[in-house]
């Protein structure tokens, strides 16, 4: 392991030493645009404040102070993002900090998405972890740092920064996956996640090195210019393949998916929603930023690979989900299938597909957060009851929970009137329009198979008699209920009146350079 980190650091040190942007062929010391980096900077400061407060806040209030600081940081960052958005509306899209950081509609919208994900992580995670008595003061710090990393993923216009952002949120996720579980199983899954994740990151870094070697820069704008100039050297194609391994691992694409079911099962349900939506969204925005935008000229080279990954991912995800008897593993495989659908959006590589992918990510985040919130309540202490059979008769024991879970499962299956349906609809439509009807056909078949296992869970809840003793699961506490309510609200509102979000996406001018 240390071997890998060691290699990474040597490699990254050498890259940092060598690589700098050269948009106009002239490198100057950067003007730091503080407004542009404010959203992430605020989060980082918040995290530091959480860590440093130990010396100042009495022990009794430390937990509360951590959570409050986390919430405050997210809110402040949201305001900073709003200011950035305002600047965009005035027509000031471009890059900042000598071309390293993109300031465009795509970046700003993604930042809002990640802040929302972080807010959900605190809203649903804190009460849940407290109930499990595994809440730690570091949790809000890990969440906001991960959010900063994911936001940088979306905004980064330089492969080095993308790598750092990737490591930033990944490290937080490795810790969360093992979060305070005194059981061997979660620790094993978290260790596997960490080892494989670091391994996949090494591929990413190797790819970046090759890209630099070919294009002479790690800056995405420069690379796009380089690719636009003519033929694409095969070394660059190899570098695209390596970068894809790293990002494919993050989104959970087959064959880099092995961590997903294990981690979903091993990590406490309260944080899985965060891991699931965050890792997927961060990976997908990076794929959009790097492949769809910067590597657009090389699409003929990467299209077959990404389309192939997409088909394999959908197929394995939905088929293996059929035989899962554990709800968390089932949602894990379902999440793999969703990664496959999202790769269709990447493959389509049009502005319409980009905005469809973002819509998909928003709705997926709401649905998966909601689903895991319910799992965390129903499974009870220590995630003891996560078999699908444990959900038998839930409709009679806890009608509201069963109804809410039904909404989320219908959403994940893509059945109207939920956000999942609209998301799939716009995504598939965009893909058909860019000529990928064969890919959409595979996605369609996968959706039909997927509907089977979602429906099966719903049927178990509504039709089967409860098995064994009545699992006296806790009533959800008010804050968790609020979080679930919000998730249901988003799932249904985006399913019934999606215009609002769509017009935002259309107005945000998501066209990144090169597209």
């Amino acid at each position: 392991m240390i071997r890998i980190i060691n290699t990474l650091q040597v490699a990254s040190a050498s890259l940092v030493a060598a690589a700098t942007p050269s948009a106009e062929g002239v490198i100057r010391a950067p003007e730091i645009d503080y407004v542009a980096i404010a959203p992430e900077a605020i989060l980082v400061l918040g995290a530091l404040a959480i860590l440093l407060k130990k010396g100042f806040v009495p022990r009794r209030y430390r937990m509360m102070a951590s959570v409050a600081t986390g919430i405050l940081a997210i809110c402040a960052s949201l305001i900073a993002t709003g200011i950035l958005w305002q600047r965009l509306a005035d027509g000031a899209a471009g890059t900042a900090v000598s071309g390293i950081l993109a300031v465009d509609g795509f970046a700003v919208f993604s930042k809002v998405l990640f802040l929302g994900i972080a807010a959900f992580a605190i809203l649903l995670g804190v009460p849940g972890l407290r109930r499990e008595r595994i809440m730690r003061e570091e949790y809000p710090a890990l969440v906001v740092l991960a959010a900063a990393g994911m936001m940088l993923m979306a905004a980064s216009s330089d492969l080095i920064l993308t790598f750092l952002a990737l490591e930033l949120f990944s490290l937080a996720f490795y810790v969360l996956a093992a979060f305070a579980r005194d059981l061997p199983r979660p620790q094993e899954s978290a260790l596997k996640y960490f080892l494989l994740g670091a391994f996949a990151s090494a591929f990413f870094l190797y790819g970046v090195a090759l890209a630099y070697g070919t294009a002479g820069s790690t800056n995405l704008t420069s690379i796009a210019d380089f690719l636009g100039r003519g033929s694409i050297p095969w070394i660059f194609v190899a570098s695209m393949a390596l970068i894809l391994v790293g990002l494919g691992f993050k989104v959970g694409a087959v064959p880099f998916h092995m961590w997903v079911p294990d981690v979903y099962q091993g990590a406490p349900s309260q944080v899985v929603g965060f891991l699931a939506s965050g890792a997927k969204a961060a990976g997908v925005v990076a794929l959009l930023r790097i492949y769809v935008s910067a590597f657009h000229a090389a699409r003929p080279s990467w299209l077959p690979v990404i389309a192939g990954l997409s088909i394999a991912t959908m197929a394995v995800g939905v088929v293996v989900a059929l035989v899962q008897s554990d709800i968390k593993r089932l949602l894990g495989y379902s999440s793999i299938a969703h990664a496959g659908y999202l790769l269709i959006g990447v493959a389509a590589a049009t502005p319409a597909a980009t905005s469809a992918s973002l819509f998909y990510l928003v709705s997926y985040a709401a649905m998966i957060f909601g689903a895991f919130a319910i799992v965390s309540v129903v499974s009870g202490k220590g995630d003891g009851f996560t078999r699908i059979d444990d959900f038998a008769g839930l409709a009679r024991r806890r009608p509201m929970l069963a109804a809410a879970f039904t909404v989320f499962l219908l959403g994940l299956a893509g059945i109207p009137p939920t956000a999942g349906f609209i998301a799939k609809f716009v995504l598939f439509q965009a893909a058909v329009e860019s000529g990928l009807w064969w890919l959409v056909l595979c996605g369609a078949v996968a959706s039909v198979i997927a509907a089977y296992f979602y429906l099966r869970v719903i049927i178990v809840m509504f039709v089967r008699e409860p098995e064994g003793e009545d699992l006296d699961s806790d009533e959800p506490d008010p804050i968790t209920s609020l979080g679930m309510g919000l998730a249901i609200g988003i799932t249904l509102v985006l399913g019934i009146i999606p215009q609002a979000l769509m017009s935002v996406l259309a107005g945000a001018d998501l066209v990144m350079p090169g597209l």
Partner: protein
């Protein structure tokens, strides 16, 4: 139209408290809702023969062609009339059927109203998404209605099966609609109709196959037919309403809407093939049933097959025959189900072999059922006879040879219908029981029998008073064929079609009448597994496959995962590398002898590490590889890199040793040999690919690197004499910041996890 549909759902909600208070009487009140539908549809039918009614469109998602839209064409209005008319009778019948104080009254009453609303929405829908929404709504309400007696495992399994098959079919259809819309720009049924007859190829053709699949699943055609017989676990009023007259007609309806305006294509072949097989095989199966209700269920599947078959024919005259039969079947089959329900209610059995000359004891029911079977089998002077004869006549006029096969299929299907009708009627009402005789309990009241009677005798009455069917069917026929006047012959005209019809009828009656012949039929095995067994086979096969796949993709072994990532990652590169050729001879071997020796030493150390069994030695050897690399860096003229490498390597080895000291001194040797082979193969593959990659990139240099500029500007911009420092704190300050953050979070993580460890030890 929107109000009418919404009113159903509102009524379904209101019905819950009302039925709680009133009990069974709530059914009588609820009947007012379908009655309104029936009346409304009659006004549309009387009007729309002359004008096409305007549609109602409610924008839903702008810019996406998703809307809620309704339009009442002729066929839609006919279906609405059936839903309303049969709905009224079903509610009246339910009032007698259910125990007025029973627990299921509230549930059934409300769900039946919701179902009627969904079904109405389905047939009135114009936009694809509206259609899909109501389509799935009928599947869901049907699911809850089948599962009315949810305490019985059989009812639950049947409900699940029905929902899975029709629901998944619906999703296939949704996908079809989406592809169709996206590729043609048409998102409404009326749009398809206005576009005129055309043969679609490519993507729209695929879409139509998916849509047709959904239709076949909903209408219980092969290979999806299994759910309908299973759904007979539902209470009889539900079977009469959903599973004979309305819901199962949804697929037929959509095929009937699309068929006249679309040209040929694979979808037509699919429907004709599936329906043609179904109508014969399901009829055959019906002959083998002893349970009256199951017999009717299989017969429904067969009749639906006939309808799909006729509607999918490219000739519009077959379509006209289809619409006549659609009406005839809905009326007769709903009535027959109700009749079986009465028998079940009075004798607590539906087994033909236990029914003893019922005709003498239940004259009314006998008459009603006789009329129903006659109408279904197509005895002369019934609506079905007129329809079937017309269908045959039209098929005969069309020349291609395979139409003879179609005629043959139709004749066999009609004969089978006649056969099982005769068998059921005779066995239940006119012969003595073979087993223990079922005892007649309470005689059915008149109010119980009348709804059934209205339906079955309507089939006869309509054939005699041709005005009624002309009014009901006229606008539908006009919509499809452009001609309003089509004439239903009350008296058959003499021709080959008549002869064939009568022959088929006679054969069938004979077959059903003589028990020995029927026994022969029931003994003969079917050529291939049908229905239930297909469902189970698919279920089991898919699950077994998924199980095996799960074993492959989720082995749980870390080495296999690492090998997979390596092989796939390197494989992707190798795929591209295969296209280029590299001149190995032109490669520079080494800069100097020292360099060569150092690299060789690294290789030897790495190989030694791989075979080493002692952990400590392995760590030290690994460290040796790192120092060797540092030496290579020195030789290549990168002392700063070498320095970093030495520092990190030293640190790494120390930390590594600290970890290893707590572990067993030697690596275990328990792994299977295959795993070793995989590891060696993956490592060798990666080595070869990287070698080729580096060898190939030897000649490649980017035209422009930024390092020169950095050196140039480091003093001017950053005021730094040390270039590396300038890069770290000035040019790439944000990255440095990011690195620090990564380290920070790594420390937090380590601290958090270490905290857990301490706590656990403390507790132990």
């Amino acid at each position: 139209m929107t109000y009418l549909v919404v009113a159903h759902f509102a009524a379904a909600l209101v019905a819950i408290p009302v039925a709680r208070r009133l009990g069974g009487k709530a059914f009588l009140l609820a009947a007012a809702v379908p009655a309104a539908t029936a009346l409304w549809s009659l006004t549309v039918l009387s009007r729309s023969a002359s004008t096409t009614s305007p549609g109602e469109v409610h924008a839903w998602i702008k810019g996406l062609d998703v809307d809620l839209s309704f339009q009442a064409g002729g066929l839609s209005a006919l279906m609405a009339f059936l839903i309303g008319g049969i709905g009224v009778l079903v509610f009246l019948y339910s009032y007698r059927y259910f125990d007025p104080a029973g627990p299921e009254v509230v549930r059934v009453c409300s769900l039946l109203l919701a179902f009627a609303g969904s079904m109405l929405g389905l047939v009135l829908a114009d936009g694809f998404f509206t259609l899909f929404l109501f389509w799935e709504a009928t599947s869901v309400t049907s699911f809850f209605l089948i599962g009315t007696e949810f305490k019985h495992a059989a009812a639950r399994a049947a409900a699940t099966q029905a929902l899975l098959i029709t629901g998944l079919g619906g999703i296939a259809m949704l996908v079809g609609f989406t592809i169709f819309g996206a590729s043609t720009g048409i998102w409404h049924l009326s749009g398809v109709e206005n576009a005129g007859s055309q043969t679609l190829t490519g993507l729209p053709a695929v879409a139509l196959v998916l849509i047709a699949t959904g239709c076949l699943a909903k209408s219980a055609q092969l290979p999806f037919g299994s759910w309908l017989p299973a759904a007979m676990a539902a209470p009889t009023p539900v079977s009469a309403f959903l599973h004979s007259a309305t819901m199962v007609k949804a697929g037929v309806y959509l095929i009937a809407r699309l068929s006249p305006v679309l040209g040929g294509g694979p979808w037509r072949a699919l429907v004709i093939g599936s329906a043609g097989l179904t109508m014969v095989l399901a009829g055959w199966r019906a002959l083998r049933q002893d349970d009256l209700k199951l017999l009717l269920a299989h017969s429904t599947v067969a009749q639906l097959g006939l309808l799909c078959f006729l509607f999918a024919m490219p000739d519009r005259r077959a379509w006209v025959a289809g619409v006549v039969l659609l009406l005839a079947h809905a009326l007769s089959k709903a009535g027959l189900f109700m009749g079986v329900g009465i028998i079940d209610h009075s004798l607590h059995t539906r087994d033909i072999s236990r029914l003893d000359r019922l005709a003498s004891e239940m004259r009314g029911v006998a008459a009603v059922m006789s009329a129903g079977f006659a109408c279904m089998a197509g005895v002369p002077l019934t609506l079905a006879f007129a329809g079937k004869e017309r269908g045959l006549e039209n098929l005969m006029e069309i020349s291609p040879p395979w139409f003879y096969a179609a005629i043959g299929l139709m004749v066999v299907a009609s004969a089978l219908t006649a056969a099982y009708s005769t068998y059921a009627l005779r066995g239940a009402f006119f012969t003595s029981a073979k087993g223990d005789v079922a005892v007649l309990g309470r005689r059915p009241s008149l109010g119980f029998v009348i709804p059934a009677g209205v339906l079955t005798f309507a089939g006869i009455a309509m054939a005699l008073f041709a005005k009624a069917p002309e009014m009901l069917l006229g606008s539908a026929v006009k919509g499809a064929t452009g001609k309003a006047n089509f004439g239903i012959p009350v008296l058959p005209h003499v021709g080959s079609a008549l002869v064939i019809s009568l022959l088929a009828l006679a054969c069938g009656v004979g077959f059903g009448y003589f028990d020995r012949l029927r026994h022969f039929a029931s003994k003969a095995a079917l050529p291939f597994p049908l229905g239930q067994r297909v469902y189970e086979a698919i279920n089991v096969g898919l699950i077994r496959f998924a199980d095996r796949l799960a074993g492959v993709v989720q082995s749980g072994s870390l080495p296999i995962y690492v090998a997979t990532i390596t092989i796939v990652g390197m494989g992707l590169i190798a795929w591209y590398l295969a296209a280029i050729d590299i001149d190995l001879g032109a490669l520079p071997l080494a800069g100097s002898v020292v360099e060569l020796l150092l690299v060789a030493a690294c290789g030897v150390l790495a190989a030694a590490m791989a075979v080493q069994r002692s952990r400590v030695t392995a760590v030290l050897l690994l460290g040796g590889v790192g120092y060797g690399l540092a030496a290579v860096f020195v030789v290549l003229g990168a002392p700063d890199l070498a320095l970093t490498q030495v520092v990190i390597e030293t640190l790494a080895v120390v930390v590594f040793l600290l970890v290893v000291k707590d572990q067993p001194a030697k690596f275990g040797r328990t792994r299977p040999v295959g795993s070793e082979v995989l590891k060696i193969a993956a490592a060798a593959f990666a080595g070869v690919v990287v070698f080729v990659l580096l060898a190939g990139s030897e000649g490649y240099r980017a035209d422009h690197f930024v390092s020169a500029e950095i050196v140039e500007f480091s003093v001017a911009d950053a005021g730094a004499q040390n270039v590396v420092n300038a890069i770290l704190v000035d040019f790439r300050a944000l990255d440095t910041m990011g690195e620090i953050l990564v380290l920070t979070i790594a420390v937090i993580g380590a601290a958090t996890l270490a905290g857990i460890e301490t706590r656990r030890r403390g507790r132990a």
